[in-house]
Symmetry: C2
Subunit: 203 residues, 2 copies
Amino acid sequence: MEVEITTEEKILIAARKVFIEKGWDGARMQEIADNAGINKALLHYYFRNKEQLFKRVLAGIVGKLIPNLNTIIQSEQPIFEKIQAFIDAYLDFLLANQELPLFVANELSRNANLIVGAFEENGLKPMVGQMVMEIFQAIENKQIRPINPAHLLMSIVSMCVFPFMGRSIFQKVLMQVPEEMYQELLKQRKKEIYEMVYHSIVL
Amino acid sequence: MEVEITTEEKILIAARKVFIEKGWDGARMQEIADNAGINKALLHYYFRNKEQLFKRVLAGIVGKLIPNLNTIIQSEQPIFEKIQAFIDAYLDFLLANQELPLFVANELSRNANLIVGAFEENGLKPMVGQMVMEIFQAIENKQIRPINPAHLLMSIVSMCVFPFMGRSIFQKVLMQVPEEMYQELLKQRKKEIYEMVYHSIVL
DNA sequence: AAAAGGTTTAACCATTTGGTTAAATATGAT
DNA sequence: ATCATATTTAACCAAATGGTTAAACCTTTT
């Protein structure tokens, strides 16, 4: 069977890899061309310049990041199930896109307008609002102990994302464990995070 | 009173600022020179090249990062007090060096050998070992509920660091709050993190 | 088969950037 | 004052880098 792959796709795949690996500043058009197995001039034929290419890569990334989580947030489930589903979906995504968080945080902090633009074009609503409300209600209903919802969410997201974003810090400085062992830890986190959150809010 | 500030110090201050702000790839020797108010050639007079200058900046950063935490870890206190002291000291440091985590994670993931070298020269022992042992003992002594120590530590560090390292993600994408409000959240975290951890491990 | 249009390439170009050089200027010792 | 040494600067340089151009090469249409 024929697996058609256009030059444009080859370029985007190569660009995604190089941009994520090296960041905007470190990425070289020549390296992207080499990775795509084409001439450098062809990059500029398909994408006018580095910025256009970067924007296209961003759009692809952001497009996958968002919908996943939003569906969960909007679903109707009891608070504990919902939190568990959130952690579950978030970690699945992170395990499949391990280098993404550091890349996004990085570019976002240097190049904010570009990235925020990409998010807005992809229609990311501040999905936090609804979650905050639900946590408030769960507190009033005596389902969970009183806790600042913003901080609870912050903590959950932190526990999910940081092991990926700060992976180099954990792996190379703090824990000094080999790659496979770290991957093993990452896989266990789904369960560990949920248990931590559960015990910290259950009455 | 005379505040003596040598050219070398001026350079290091400027370099630290530019490197942290822009990263290795984004930092320009010219910009560092401008920030220091000197000629570009003078940079190379004091520091042979970009790499030497970067290493010196790193040494300064790592030198302050470590000792702070190690003293706490090595202190003898009951487990809950120790965890609280750890969070306390960590957040004080982070509040005073907000841009550092992203910078370190970033350079560490691209340029590992350079940074790990800087850590090793500054004698960072994998301080985690001792903490893991103590958590194990606390579990055996029925002081806290059974929990994987590595994950507990990972979670604590995550909750402390991520709001700084992923600040742009929280602030600009997820929560969309103004600067002062985010700073306010950060100041509250000390208390919030400890309470979260406390409730999640207390029997 | 020849014209036409899109696709790909090699060779260039202008600018930026890290780094050097040689001369000028302070600074300190004799 | 004068000599020597350390500090600072302006002018350069070579390599790297994003981008352009004009020609070559397909593929499809007529």
